[in-house]
Structure formats: C-alpha cells, structure tokens
Assembly symmetry: C3
C-alpha cells in the first residue's frame, strides 16, 4: 500500500488527527521563526495567498500576499530575513476547528480557524489577526503537503507585521 | 444497533472526537453567518442561555439571553436579520478544552472553553468574549443535538454585538 | 501490564489524545480557581517555572516564578489565597497545538501553545498572556503527572495578575 493509498483509505476522523499534528508542526515552525523550513510544508507548485475576508467573499482577486510556487515562498523568507526595519516582535499562533471536507481529485480540502497574537518588545500582547484558512493538501513524498493555502483574515486593516506568514 | 445505542456505547475519547467535529461545524455555521441553519443544532425543546459568570456562580437567574425552544432560536435569527442598526462586523470563534462529563439520564454533559473575536470594518480585531459553555446533548434523529446550552461569559460588560449567538 | 508500561506502549497519537484530556482538566482546575487541587497535577519533586521568552532563549536563568517542588506550589496557593490586594479578575485559558516529543529516560516531552485572557470587573476581556509550555511528564500512581513545566511567555512585561498560575 502506497502512502497515497494509505491516506485515501483513512477515515475522516483519522485524517483530522493526522492534520492536527501537521498544523501543530506548521505553527511551531512559524512561531519559532524557523522560516527556512516553512516552504517545505508546500508542494513545488503551491499557491499561497493571504487575502482580506471582504475581498474573498466578493470574489475580488486582490490579495495582500500572493505566492505562486515554493520558490516564491523561499524568496519571501529571504525578504523577511533582510528586512530589519520592523520592530522585533513575537507572533503566537493558535489553530482550532479543523474540519476535513474530504478528497476531491486527489486533493484533500480542509478548513481551520486561526488566531494570531503579537507581542512587541516592552508592550503587552495583543490580537494580531484572526481568520479562516482554506487549504488543499496532496500526498507528496509520502507526506501531506499544502498544494494551496488561502489565509482569509477578518480585519480589513493590514497590520504591518503581516510580513510574517500565517 | 440504534444511533442512541451506538453513542451510549462509545468511549469517552470517541465521544470527545465526535463532539469536536460537532463544535467545529457549529462554530463554522455561526462564523459564516449561516444563521438560519443554527437552530438545527438544537432539539425542539432546547434551552439556550447566555449568562454572565457572576450571575451563574451566584445562582442568579438573570440571563442576557434566554431562549426556551428551537422556535425562540428561530425568532432570534429573524430579529438579527432585521436589525440593521449595528455596524457590520465579523465574529470569529475558537473552541477548546472539550471535556466529556458523561451520560446522565440520556443526556451527555460537556464543558468547553471558547474565545470569540470581533472585527469591525476599518478596525483591528479585538477580543469580544471568552467563557465556558455548559452543554447537555441528546441523540435525536441519529445525531447529537443540544438539549441545553449555557454560555457563561467572563465579562460583566455586555458587548452590544452579543446580538450574535455563541 | 503496569500503568507505566501501558503509557510507554501508546502510539504518539494516543498519547496526544490522553494529554489533551489532561490539559483540559488542568486548565479547568485553574479557570475555576480550584487552586488547592492544582499541585496534584505535579510530582513531589516537580520543577515549575514561568519565564519570559527572551530570558529562555538567551539561556538566562532568571524566572518570574520558580518553584522546585510540590510543596512550593502549595505555598504559592496559600500566598494567592491570602493576597487580597489585587482586583478580582477571571482568567480564561486556551491550550492548543499539543505536540508529543516522545519518551526520554522515562519522561514524556510535550510542547503546547497557550493563550490566557483576563477579565476584570466592569472591564472588557483582554489578552493577558500567550506563550508556549515545555513540559516533561512521568507516570506516577498510574497517571501522567508534571515532573517539569516551563511556561515561556512572549511578553516581557509582567502583568500583575501573573500571580495566578498558568
């Protein structure tokens, strides 16, 4: 049985438990600022977008961030590492309400809610962004990887620290 | 084996996993403002209350919202839909710490923590309400439904947007 | 099969589900201010520390709170109960992203993210603290107990209500 067959044969519940582990690893990677490891959660041709909820619901194409491949994501990491004009801050991410929508044409649809908190030096922690992720995952090299990840955030205001991925 | 027997035979852990899926669906229904579907999570004779923690702990009966049946919940939805005086906003809900207390007289006791975040147009996201839910579920038409849901919120201040359900 | 053998034989996933129940109970104990029960989640020789993230990452030993045994934790509870100078407040805790690192020399390594919200009387709820816990658990009396719990919080500002445990 190949890895793909194994994932396809999983019950919706087992897939959710599998995904919860994946999201926990993904979030830890970002929270700990191991940014160079972040693109490895994606396929080579992955689409990654951060988009305001209003644009998303109206079908407007304009995204705050738009990356069309793993290469774009790597470029993004380089850009973040080179950008030192921002005040140092920590981002802490929480994922909840993981919902498995099922397989369609080899892609696993998933929805999650997230909340992200920002802490600047010498300031109290505040809510940075909340929203919902629309993910599509595929089996690549025996593991689930993001083929598509749309981060739809509730606030229309774009916090400057959106420089960090979600 | 009937649906009821199947649920009664489940281990506490399987019940929790079942409930986590239910809460994720429930929260998605509300977050996406599919309000007309919301009453369907409840039995016809369901009790739904939103109550400040201090009142709850002192045994005071006064609730911020009190609905004694699914009909009340439907009326509530109509009232929300007709109320356009409030500024448009998004509510984002997170559920965590699902604890299964077990079956008692055919009702499944459950506790959860929740956090809800509010985003008004052109404003940053802020914490809207946090608290704990005291739920009792029963098996109806082969599914778990809320027979009772008490939303106990920590803040004594009543945010105006409590107009939206939790 | 002893309790220890049972836990050691568990898959990583089963351990996570076991731990999620433990953390839910732990959080409920604190949220409901059943402080006298709190030390029972720890072994007699447990180490409990609350430490700012910057100190933790730089390897600086200075912690905001440092308790070297269950006895210290009990003293802490007595101190909290006797301290009435603080305004009454509720703390609401959310745990997410539970990651099982595995067994090492009889200790189970676990990482979690947490968010804690504070509600003072007549005030709106606000974010109180977010961060990550570095836990080591052992099997004692047939149950998992904390042998070590390091609460690493993102904000360098120490909120006065850190008097309450996390």
């Amino acid at each position: 049985m190949t890895a793909t067959e194994r994932f396809l044969a999983m019950s919706s519940r087992d897939l959710r438990l599998e995904l919860e582990e994946l999201y926990a690893d993904y979030v830890a990677c970002l929270d700990e600022e191991r940014l160079e490891e972040w693109p490895e959660f994606f396929t080579d041709d992955a689409l990654y977008r951060i988009i305001p909820r209003e644009n998303f619901e109206r079908g407007l194409p304009i995204a705050t961030l738009h990356c069309e491949s793993k290469g774009y994501l790597k470029d993004r990491v380089v850009a973040i590492r080179r950008t030192m004009v921002y005040a140092p801050r920590y981002i802490r991410r929480m994922v909840s309400n993981v919902r498995v929508l099922g397989w369609q044409e080899g892609q696993l649809g998933v929805r999650t809610n997230y909340a992200a908190f920002e802490t600047l030096r010498d300031e109290l922690t505040r809510v940075f962004s909340v929203g919902r992720c629309h993910d599509k995952l595929v089996v690549a090299n025996g593991r689930l990887k993001f083929k598509e990840r749309l981060v739809v955030f509730d606030s229309e205001l774009i916090p400057i620290s959106l420089i960090y991925p979600l």
